[in-house]
């Protein structure tokens, strides 16, 4: 936001001295949904610019964001969001978290990469002439001149470009640790100092080219790694931004104004219209309604809430407009419990050690030992310190971990972009690695295995006329069951005519007076002629004067490809579980339908954690797939976690990746890509190790100059990068994991 404000002031300065006094400008970054192409881009910019008071609007299509500069005295952010809404684009103010800092770091790496690339190109140009000159007739003076020029270009470039490695190495040494940057820094700085010394003495052992090429290649890896982080975090922030909605706040004098959800404070009264998501935790101060809490509790049936009743942020208001007084978040026991569980779960997972770091722990000491052994060995054989050091540097450069520094990020870039194309947005940078190790999948029910919206299950038992009459009532309501009735009517091709004078009674149902008497669609207890015992959960009754009441039964529809995904996972040897907070019988039915044998219903959030802990204790690595607020602690506790994009925002924050769309297939795709990428990373290590196995003994024996070492290293880097690119198009199969338990 700092940067944005500065930009705004700079724009204001263009307006000339007279205007500068009054015109203030502010810049806001908006997340815009469903922006896909240049046409959307143009219409969003035009739409924003047409709002009076907006001086500048610019869309960033890659980031799916629009930034607008406006005069805060004339417009506020909500007006811009509303204007975009009218143009058909859902927008929200972006949550500026750590995104800016990450972008700045990526830009910094790119700048260093540019400098290193410039220097590497020029130094190589000079070096190639010197090599060619050694074969022909270049005189000593010209070679010396070229060496001095190389020094002039390479030394400042290395001092600037290699700083990220030096800094990280110094930090590691301060903490009495070794990381991969220690041998890298040692190799680069020793090669540079040694070459400078040899340039002063006028010998031919000058290897600036090796040092700068190494820096250049390693920076590419570092930049790709940072790029993945920036994209992942940007995507996560966009998802969160779109979740935070505006709220209609009622002031003391009864006037209403729109504010962003983040500006809400305890004590404010918020008007919540029918169909809107309740933006705060609070108490109802006016009105009675039904609330859909499926996102919070996993319970599919809406609950009636009256004056004084507690409602949670994220639930949907279904039947009547209400006024909610915001209470502090920590007042609500459910949220407080979730927050406490999440904190404990995150500590439990601890710091996951990434593959590259694990390899580095083994590799870095080995590199140092080999380098030192080479130096000492040549000294013992009386080669003199210069030659000994040259050979030792060649070993350091040869062993330089390009596979670790470049190939793993390259694999991750291809893997994340492939997943992105399939609608899976990776949020945690190490998520892929953890996902690859999973051997057990735990699903939540509502909103994960199921679509989270009920469908009419006994439509075939209801005749067209009755369905049409019920639908004419249902069309007036936002209740999920009403929508299901309407959907069933649509599917039969029935023209639904809205009934006149429909009233909705929260907790009971709909009624309308017609020429032939009252018609009602609602719960069993509310319909004449139906005993309450018939009610049960998951059904409505339709009653009209003088006719027998008709039952409507509802099911939470399973995602179409869920049985398929479960079958695939089981065939590949994964343990598959279903754990839900919903009623036992509903859970059993879904478990049966999708083919999961082990299930548990009516589980509280801490119960889910207990189940995960038990699985962990038996040596399993669990992937949790869930969407509700009640799943958030389990998502944080599991080895890896996925969330649908319809999930509660706290769950999306906890999950490693978020998948979009109506299907469950992306879960399978994510596991496949993660495992393939892990396999590919190991393949790349193998390539690098094979190359080391051949060249390290040669280098120790003194047959490889640092320059040849640098060239060979570059070739191996290119080989592993090309290998990583295969992941983009490879056909993937889910291989068997059964043997890994």
């Amino acid at each position: 936001m700092d940067r944005a404000l500065k930009l705004g002031v700079a724009d204001g300065a263009f307006d000339g001295p007279a205007a500068r006094a009054e015109v203030r400008s502010e810049t806001v970054s908006l997340v815009v949904e469903n922006m896909h192409c240049g046409a959307c881009m143009t219409s969003i910019e035009r739409c924003l610019k047409s709002v009076p008071g907006v001086s500048e609007a610019r869309v960033n299509l890659s980031a799916r964001r629009a930034s607008a500069t406006f005069d805060p005295a004339r417009v506020d952010v909500q007006v811009l969001i509303d204007a975009l809404g009218r143009a058909g684009f859902r927008a929200a103010e972006a949550v500026e978290a750590r995104g800016d800092q990450d972008v700045a770091r990526a830009d910094d790496l790119l700048r260093r990469l540019g400098v290193a690339g410039f220097a590497a190109a020029n130094v190589m140009l000079l070096s190639v002439s010197v090599w060619a000159g050694q074969a022909s007739d270049m005189d000593k003076a010209a070679a010396a001149l070229f060496h001095w020029l190389s020094a002039l270009i390479a030394m400042p470039a290395i001092a600037y470009s290699a700083q990220p490695f030096f800094r990280s190495a110094i930090d590691a040494l301060k903490g009495r640790r070794l990381n991969m940057d220690v041998p890298i820094s040692l190799g680069i700085s020793l090669a540079t100092i040694m070459s400078f010394y040899q340039t002063l003495r006028g010998t031919s052992h000058v290897y600036f080219d090796a040092a700068i090429m190494l820096t250049f290649f390693l920076l590419i890896g570092r930049y790709l790694d940072q790029h993945v982080r920036v994209r992942a975090r940007g995507a996560a922030e966009n998802l969160l931004g779109l979740k935070s909605l505006g709220a209609l706040v009622l002031d003391e004098d009864g006037t209403a104004r729109r504010v962003s959800a983040r500006a809400l404070a305890p004590g404010m009264k918020v008007q919540v219209a029918v169909g809107e998501r309740i933006p705060v935790d609070g108490r109802i101060v006016d009105g009675v309604t039904d609330v859909d809490a499926s996102l919070i509790t996993g319970e599919t049936l809406p609950q009636a809430v009256g004056k004084g009743g507690t409602v949670h942020a994220g639930t949907v208001n279904l039947t009547r407009p209400v006024v909610v007084e915001a209470t502090a978040t920590d007042d609500s026991t459910l949220l407080a419990e979730i927050a406490r569980l999440m904190q404990a779960a995150e500590q439990g997972r601890g710091q996951y050690v990434r593959l590259a770091d694990r390899a580095a722990r083994q590799y870095a000491p080995a590199v140092h030992v080999l380098g030192a052994a080479t130096f000492i060995g040549w000294m013992v054989f009386g080669a003199g310190w210069e030659l000994s050091l040259t050979h030792a540097i060649a070993v350091l450069i040869i062993t330089c971990p390009c596979a670790l520094a470049l190939a793993v990020p390259a694999v991750q870039v291809t893997a994340t972009s492939r997943l992105f194309g399939k609608g899976v947005i990776l949020k945690a940078a190490d998520g892929l690695e953890r996902l690859a190790e999973v051997d057990t999948v735990v699903f939540d029910k509502t909103g994960t295995l199921t679509r989270g919206a009920p469908v009419l299950s006994n439509a075939s038992a209801i005749d067209d006329a009755t369905l049409a009459e019920a639908a004419s009532l249902a069309i007036a309501s936002r209740h999920p069951y009403s929508k299901a009735v309407l959907m069933a009517a649509d599917a039969r091709g029935i023209d639904v005519r809205p009934a006149e004078g429909v009233t909705e009674v929260p907790g009971s149902g709909l009624s309308a007076m017609g020429p032939s008497g009252e018609r009602r669609l609602g719960s069993a207890a509310w319909i004449d002629g139906v005993s309450a015992a018939h009610g049960g959960a998951g059904s409505l009754w339709y009653g009209a004067a003088g006719r027998a009441p008709v039952a409507f039964h509802f099911d939470d529809a399973v995602r179409a490809d869920a049985p398929d995904v479960v079958a695939n996972l089981r065939r590949a040897g994964y343990g598959v579980y279903l754990i839900s907070g919903d009623r036992e019988e509903a859970v059993q039915r879904v478990a049966h339908e999708v083919g999961i044998e082990t299930w548990q219903g009516a589980v509280r959030p801490d119960g889910k954690i207990a189940v995960l802990d038990a699985l962990k204790a038996s040596g399993r690595k669990v992937l949790m797939v869930g969407d509700g607020l009640n799943d958030a602690p389990a998502l944080a506790a599991a080895h890896a976690s996925l969330s649908p994009s319809s999930a509660a925002d706290i769950s999306q924050t906890a999950a490693d990746a978020v998948f979009q769309g109506e299907e469950l297939g992306p879960v399978l795709e994510a596991i496949k890509v993660a495992r393939a990428s892990q396999g590919m990373a190991i393949e790349n290590f193998a390539i690098a190790l094979a190359y080391n196995a051949v060249s390290v003994p040669m280098a120790m024996a003194g047959h490889v100059t640092p320059l040849i070492a640098a060239l060979a290293m570059s070739l191996s880097s290119i080989a592993v990068t090309l290998n990583a690119l295969r992941l983009k198009t490879a056909r993937l199969r889910l291989s068997f994991v059964g043997g890994r338990r």
Binding site: G38, M41, T42, A63, D107, G114
Partner: protein
């Protein structure tokens, strides 16, 4: 040999021009939206007028 005296500075200067151009492009945010810039080039909107 004398050719080197002006060829090498020329080569370096050209390289440096490229580097400066890259850093200028980076600092002015031209790498921030690679997708959008492609669309802007073929957009019919008059986006190339100087700012007021």
């Amino acid at each position: 040999m004398t050719a080197l005296a002006w060829l090498i500075p020329c080569a370096l200067a050209l390289g440096a021009v490229g580097l400066v151009a890259f850093i200028w492009a980076l600092n002015s945010g031209q790498f921030q939206d690679l997708e959008g810039s492609g669309w802007r080039a073929i957009s019919d909107d008059e986006d190339d007028k100087p700012r007021p």
